[in-house]
Amino acid sequence: MNWNELVGAALLGAERRTPPGGSVAALLDAAAVETVRRRAGLRPAAAAPRPEPAPEDSRPPLPPAAARRLALLLTDRPGAGGGRRGAAPDLAELLPQWLTAANAHGYRAPAESLPALLDAARARTDLRAGALTLGGPRALWLARLNPDWKFALRGGTGRGVEPASGAAAADTAGPDEAAARRLWEEGLFAERSALLVSLRRRDPAAARELLASTWSAERAEDRLMFLDSLREGLSPDDEAFLEQALTDRSRTVRATAAELLSALPGSALAARMAVRARACVALDRTSRSVRLAVEAPYECDAGMQRDGVSPKPPTGRGERSWWLAQVVEAAPLDGWSEHLGSRTPAQIVALPVADDWASEVHAAWAQAAVRQRNTAWARALLGKPSAPVTAVPGDPARLLTVLPPEERAEWAAEFIAAHGLSEAFRVLGVCAVPWAEPLGRAVVDALEIARDAGSYPWSFSGVMGLAERCLDPAQADRLAPLAAVPDEPEGGSPGAGGYWAEAFQRLVATLHLRATMLAELDPARGGPAPGR
């Protein structure tokens, strides 16, 4: 009896039609025989086309202890559990620096952790670059099989952060130029992007030439991303290519090209902008005391537009002040000294400005200082850390990024000593990890002051979280006394002491954990059980 007949008879029911065999008992008997026969006689299926094997990854594997640590960090999902955090470290927050450290050693991820790694990177963009670097060619190979992990192939991961230098791309690009060219012409966006970034690091000119070879055939959004990767290793040699990109079909590509050119103080665009800027800002000869006079542009002509000046201001902003800002931002800062009576940047910043233009001009200079990485100007615009917060034009955190790390830490430490922690979050965010002294000490002191003032620790949870991630682990022992429950200060919030103790316990525990996990990555130390 055929299986389909049996199923048909069972569906229909014996009341409607006599089943094969004559009775329901016979139907069940026959179905039992057939079920076992069918199961016992299962035949192999025809094999589908097998996927291409993943490319080799010659990087060393993680030490066993570090591999286990990764598995632990990956099981902790942010937001899991919810509620108060207690005294235990927030593992998910440590994942980014673990990835950075592991990648600095040049390890590859354990294959079995790749799905969890890709899932984590899918959920958190801040993990993507680090996760994909650690995952290497096998992660990309795996991502190609799963639509959930498309992000790994579509890239856009390396922007602003350390770009994903997919090891596959780096390896093939190294010894074999033809293979690199083939990858560039046939590869996925992520592979091409990684190739461009790694080539740019080794040989900036070769990277630019590779990009130029296919430039006109690229899609506008890809052109934008590729152009952006020239930011690293930018030099006067790139000027001709960028100048050509000023006539690009896409407005955003033109704007990026102009921005890059303005970061090259010797470029023709920078010189054109300098001429325009000088026409706008000059020493005021009419005034008795020395001051700056400002004459904003009256029009945004074709030449300005070609050089990336956007004619239409955002809502709420006047046209002329908008054009002025863009012109001053793009003009080389080093030219101002000569133009303004051989004054130093600090002297120029100190000059009074006529007609309420001071904030506009200073903000534009701040932009220029960040774009042109001009330390002297950034220092002048930042001024003394103890000055009122509003005295700094623009964002002090962005200006700080221009200063060398030690100077950054010193400025931030003084800033916190003067203003406390309430304004410190962004400033702390740009300081190098681990925090150099005296910064770490300043933060801990400020936290202690906040506790003694009787406030609750969650008013400082942002800074506390940063401290957990950024304080030097060597500080842990010094902090240990703070983890004890203090006497309740007079007028303090009830129970705050206990919560502070808990917050400091978490801080100490996190610092210990960071020290341990970094040590586990040390190949010389290896971990306790190298056999496994």
Binding site: L28, A46, A47, D119, T516
Partner: protein, 467 residues
Amino acid sequence: MSTGESRWSAEQVLALAPDAASRKAGAKLAAPGPWSDTGAGRGAVWGQCKGSGSRPYRTVVDVAGGSAPGYRCSCPSRKFPCKHALGLLLLWSEGAEAVPDAPGSVPEWAESWLDGRREREGRELRKAAAARDGERAAAPADPRAARRRAEQRAARIAAGATELERRLEDLLRGGLAGVEQSGYAVWEETAKRMVDAQAPGLAARVRELGSIPGSGAGWPSRMVEECALLHLLGRGFLGIDGLPEPLAATVRSRVGLTVESAEVLADRDAVVRDDWLVLGQHDGEDGRLTTRRVWLYGLRTGRPALLLSFGAAGRAPELTLPIGSSVDADLAYHPGARALRAVLGERHAAPEPGGVPPGVGVHDALAAYGAALCGDPWLEGWPVILADVVPVPVGEGWQLADAEGDSALPVAVTEATRSRMWRLAAVSGGGPVTVFGECGPRGFTPYTVWSKRAIPLTVADVGGGAA
């Protein structure tokens, strides 16, 4: 066991966690911060953990226990082991820097508990040995009463099986087409009747039947299969006197008449000593009960075995054997036509790292499953080790294909196998691997893959893997 006993791996520790939440909580506590006075020695690990209260919790774990670790913690958690025990063990697994070896300085509070536990354990071991050696022949207190009870139960099950037969026939008289609307309650009621008839095996199968009508395309075919197998089981029990003994034993166990572990172990003929390679482990949740299945492979005998261990909700089953290791031990098989389920007896040595087990191709794997079905047609799966297979994505599912040739085994499609297959694919990288899993009517269910060492795929069931 000696005090210098090797520390466990983090995977081994995490396998003890009763659920995913404990796994996470334990991992968070695996940092030196909250811990003080930690130490290891005399087969135990101890430490004090700062909690939210003023007094730290005292945690001690007996890691040298005969069959399973023992835990004691002063925290109020009902989880077992609690997160403190897990955190402490994880810390210990990191090495002597985190938890130093200090066999000479076991704190008092830990020592008193350990001593009590060791003494109890010794007593039980002696009792078990005595039961096996001398008193085996000694009959239960009142053999006639025992026999009467057994007969009563058999009669009750037979009545249940008869009623089940009637219900199955009614079902097919009315036709399966109607059951999609009739809902789950009918099956639940029938299942309860089977529980009353003291036939939990029948009850479980009836409940399964209830979930088939809503299970998507092809359900009528699956429904007929399961009805037919249930019918076969009922008929088998009603005619059990005419069956050869091994098959009768299989029918009895399928119906739910199980044999006590002690009784299985007492049968000297059922005991097999071998180096058993631990192939895989899977924990299944069933409402109030966690069932842990551990598959073994005898390296000398070539026999597969399945160990079952149970835990109440919130407690991990006690049995723990590191996956991929091999252990020299006695195993006693439950009686049956296709002996698979077994009980772990005496262990002659601690588990050692094992190698990659020998496997077969797709064709032989299916043949083994078919042969096993001839002995036990109610088998849901038969353990097989596939060698040199490549995971291949096929539409929404997967297959494991022989590295050479054009045969493949489809992988059963479930939420769990989906995440396991991503791990498996990542490990294989498109190359041939050795995979342990079960062959079943819906395809292959993978549990472990070998790439130099054993990598359990089941870890990904919680947390990891693309959801």
